[in-house]
Amino acid sequence: MLLIECPYCGKRHETEFRYGGEAHIVRPEKPEDLNDTEWADFLFMRTNTKGVFAERWYHANGCRQWFNALRHTVSHQIIAVYKMGEKPPVSDQGSEDR
């Protein structure tokens, strides 16, 4: 089980959180200009990173705030947490050797 640090409440048990998938996916400015492939790409296609991954978490049973985390998908180590709208404090480019 993971111990996740909510940027608001502090360290809490994984069971208090919900997973929110990949972070920093920007909704297209003009969805009506996209073809089906591009729209499907925005809706469904996600990177399957082996390494450091930027993802969203929701503190469902605590403060009910969304935030971002950098987690290594192999070791589950959480490298950083940061608030919505902020940039990753360190690179989220997958490095496989952590």
Binding site: Y8, G10, R12, H13, T15, E16, N61, G62, R64, Q65
Partner: protein, 184 residues
């Protein structure tokens, strides 16, 4: 207290089996308050209506006069708990982007106290309740036996546990059961 005259506790049928360290507190007035704490007008209006300075530090409880307090719930959300009805808060906040909702009927409050309180709670909750981490005057929203709860530490060995009415009987039964081994 006309407001509570016809109210029935969802755990009334269980209270006979409560150990002496577990009690249900009388119904209280509870208001869920939301607003932008960086907005001076909001802060001032809340202070005027309740006398409270809202806590901005996470997991803290702000105490006011005459048994009124504000529990930090999130960066823009507090639970105001009071013995007396807070009548004018909505008027005070009328022109301000905010919300004050009477949630007195949402949750009952359980009092858990005594030398075994911490261990009973530790059996039911994954939160780090170590006295060095969770201190008197702090509050957390977490899970007790998978059920959402607000735990307020009111003294070294006393906790107030706020649980949803529909989960109240379940949580009570759980706590009573968790307490069995300490009953001598």
């Amino acid at each position: 207290m006309a407001k509570f005259d016809n109210w029935r506790s969802p755990v009334a049928h269980l209270s006979e089996g409560f150990p002496s360290s577990l009690t249900e507190l009388p119904f209280t007035h509870q208001i869920n308050l939301r607003g932008d704490i960086t907005d001076k007008a909001f802060k001032t209006a809340v202070k005027k209506a309740t006398g409270l300075v809202l806590p901005v530090i996470p997991n803290e409880v702000g105490m006011g006069k005459d048994n009124i307090k504000a529990l930090w719930l999130s960066p823009n959300e507090w639970l105001i708990v009071s013995d007396h009805e807070i009548t004018d808060i909505r008027d005070s906040l009328a022109e301000i982007h905010s919300a004050a909702t009477d949630v007195s009927a949402n949750r009952i409050i359980l009092g858990l106290s005594g030398p075994d309180a911490l261990e009973v709670l530790m059996k039911s909750c994954e939160m780090d309740l170590d006295p060095n981490v969770f201190k008197t005057g702090q509050v957390v929203q977490t899970l007790i036996a998978k059920s959402q709860a607000i735990i307020e530490k009111v003294s070294d060995d006393t906790y107030h546990i706020y649980v949803r009415n529909s989960f109240a009987a379940y949580v009570c039964e759980w706590l009573v059961d968790a307490h069995v081994e300490y009953r001598m």
